[in-house]
């Protein structure tokens, strides 16, 4: 099984449902580079979930092609294809009659891993997603909180080390505080694992936070823009995208970069800000303190330079 990430190409992928004039997905053509998180975002009915489910063939592709590492998905056996793709859904869909460990081991069992290896892998994954391999593995889904269930869902999808992950609003049903933590942990995980991830959400802030690239869809299943979060925020392709990302897109763009990424001025006195703070947080500090400039500190608290208000807003 390939363990590295896979490139995914949508080539004029189109899905129509009988009796509906508009296609659910209209000639989508994008390339998701291996190892990147591509967030599909848009209002409901814009085809983002359709696009996702076309990839593991839960929905049949009418026209066009989808290729994973150059192989057309309809040239593969559907069962093999699905087993080589991690799939995470909002309602998680854990099997209530199986323990957490048995849930995680589902695909490895199907593909015939030896028991010892499954046990080892399960423990490794529980730890990876922040659960306790000793205690949590033998619990049942009904005994877990919503956040814990989604962690198990993620571990289950990662079990056979698939090169591609499909995630359908995985954090959508989780309260905001836990969601933010899961997002952070997911980014930390992705930093290690470097999977190719297709991630569906209707939350533009989640898209900006998680995406290496964002595909914004509009009603009628058409792609409005496909670009990095920075480009989408600074140069929205049209009115629809500008409105969808919100009037505060300038502020959102500030949140994408950290103070440390700027060219710093010479060290000077003033309110302090850490170099790994975002520009948005630094600006908040400037406003709070009525300051014209900030002293920038490194992790140990030593002042290493300064930024002015103009630097932040440039």
């Amino acid at each position: 099984m390939p363990t590295s990430a896979a490139e995914v190409v949508f080539d004029h992928a189109t899905k129509r449902y009988p009796g509906r004039p508009e296609p659910a997905l209209d000639e989508l053509s994008i390339t998701v580079p291996a190892g990147e998180i591509c967030v599909l975002v848009g209002p409901s009915g814009s085809g983002k979930t359709t696009a996702l489910k076309l990839v593991n063939r839960l929905i049949y592709l009418d026209e066009g092609e989808i290729r994973i590492d150059g192989t057309k998905i309809y040239d593969l056996d559907v069962t093999e294809l699905r087993r080589s793709i991690g799939y995470v859904i909002q309602q998680v869909g854990l099997f209530p009659h199986m323990t957490v460990a048995a849930n995680i081991g589902t695909v490895p069992r199907l593909v015939g891993w030896p028991k010892a290896r499954i046990r080892e892998r399960t423990a490794e994954l529980l730890e990876l997603v922040g659960l306790d391999p000793a205690g949590d593995g033998s619990r049942y889904p009904a005994q877990l909180s919503g956040g814990q269930r989604q962690r198990v869902g993620l571990a289950r999808a990662l079990a056979a080390n698939p090169p591609l992950m499909l995630m359908d609003e995985p954090f959508g049903a989780i309260d905001p505080i836990v969601r933010a933590r899961l997002q952070d942990e997911f980014l930390r995980l992705q930093h290690e694992l470097r999977k190719t991830v297709l991630f569906v959400t209707h939350d533009i802030d989640e898209a900006i936070k998680l995406g290496d690239r964002i595909a914004i869809f509009r009603q009628g299943g058409t792609l409005a823009q496909y670009a990095t979060p920075e480009t989408i925020l600074r140069h929205p392709a049209d009115e629809f995208v500008a409105e969808f990302v919100g009037a505060d897109r300038a502020l959102k763009a500030l949140a994408l970069r950290t103070v440390g990424e700027l060219e710093l001025g010479p060290p000077r006195d003033g309110p302090r800000v850490s170099s790994d703070a975002t520009l948005r947080d630094a600006l908040a500090r400037v406003i709070d303190e009525h300051a014209e400039s900030l002293a920038v500190t490194d992790a140990s608290g030593t002042v290493i330079g300064s930024v002015t208000k103009d630097d932040l807003l440039r």
Partner: protein
């Protein structure tokens, strides 16, 4: 029928203690004397009749339920058929079958099996359908085949409903099986009928009836224990 016509208690001067001769409510000496030749054999026969009926009924209901679950068009006719069987009064059904299968165990079992089908069929189908939609989507998305989804997800999740059906079927079968004594001289219905015919001997009726109730309770308890063992997750 004569067996149901309860005349006044006529003292049985033939044998036994005073209690027995006066048709007492609880003659321990009679119970001691006739446990071995009357009650115990009847209890064993009753267990046999009920076990066979529930066993065969479960096998048929499971087969029908698998078909009804897989092919939804079959569900309505199967359900209606089981409904129809269930509505036939048991006394009538036993009598109706006698001309066909005679005064045999077969007659008894056919009737008893017929009564188990409705509960077992409906519960099994409902159990198979109770699987959460998201668990099915996850199963599909992870690459479980249809058969794997059925065996690993749908069937295990249907177990609580199936066992609930088995409990009802067992209890009702044990109760209805007393009527089998109309057809064959077996089961706990036999001593009851004999006692009704012979001066309405209360001790025998109470003992046999009590055994039938106890048997139903024990069967129910055993199935509860079995379900707990089979579905550790349902207590989670």
């Amino acid at each position: 029928m004569s067996i149901l016509a309860a005349g006044p208690v006529i003292p049985n001067f033939g044998s036994g203690s005073k209690c027995e001769q006066t048709g007492g409510w609880w003659c321990t000496d009679w119970l001691r004397a006739h446990w071995g030749d009357t009650l115990q054999p009847a209890l064993v026969q009753h267990i046999e009749l009920s076990l066979i009926a529930v066993g065969i009924g479960f096998a048929i209901a499971l087969a029908l339920a698998l078909l009804g679950f897989r092919f939804a068009v079959l569900d309505a006719p199967f359900g209606a058929f089981a409904d129809f069987l269930y509505t036939i009064p048991s006394l009538a059904l036993f009598q109706l079958l006698v001309p066909i299968t005679g005064l045999t165990v077969t007659t008894v079992e056919v009737a008893l099996v017929g009564y188990t089908l409705l509960i077992l069929y409906r519960n099994t189908v409902a159990g198979l359908r109770s699987v959460p939609a998201e668990a099915l989507e996850a199963a599909r998305g992870m690459g479980l085949t249809r058969t794997q989804t059925f065996l690993r997800v749908e069937l295990p999740l249907a177990v609580p409903a199936i066992v609930a059906g088995l409990r009802l079927a067992a209890v009702s079968t044990i109760s209805i099986a007393t009527v089998a004594a109309l057809v064959i001289p077996e089961g706990l219905g036999r001593p009851i009928f004999v006692a009704l015919e012979q001066d309405l001997f209360k001790t025998e009726i109470l003992a046999a009836g009590g055994l039938a109730i106890a048997l139903a309770l024990v069967a129910d308890a055993l199935l509860v224990v079995a379900q707990r063992a089979l579905t550790p997750w349902s207590r989670a």
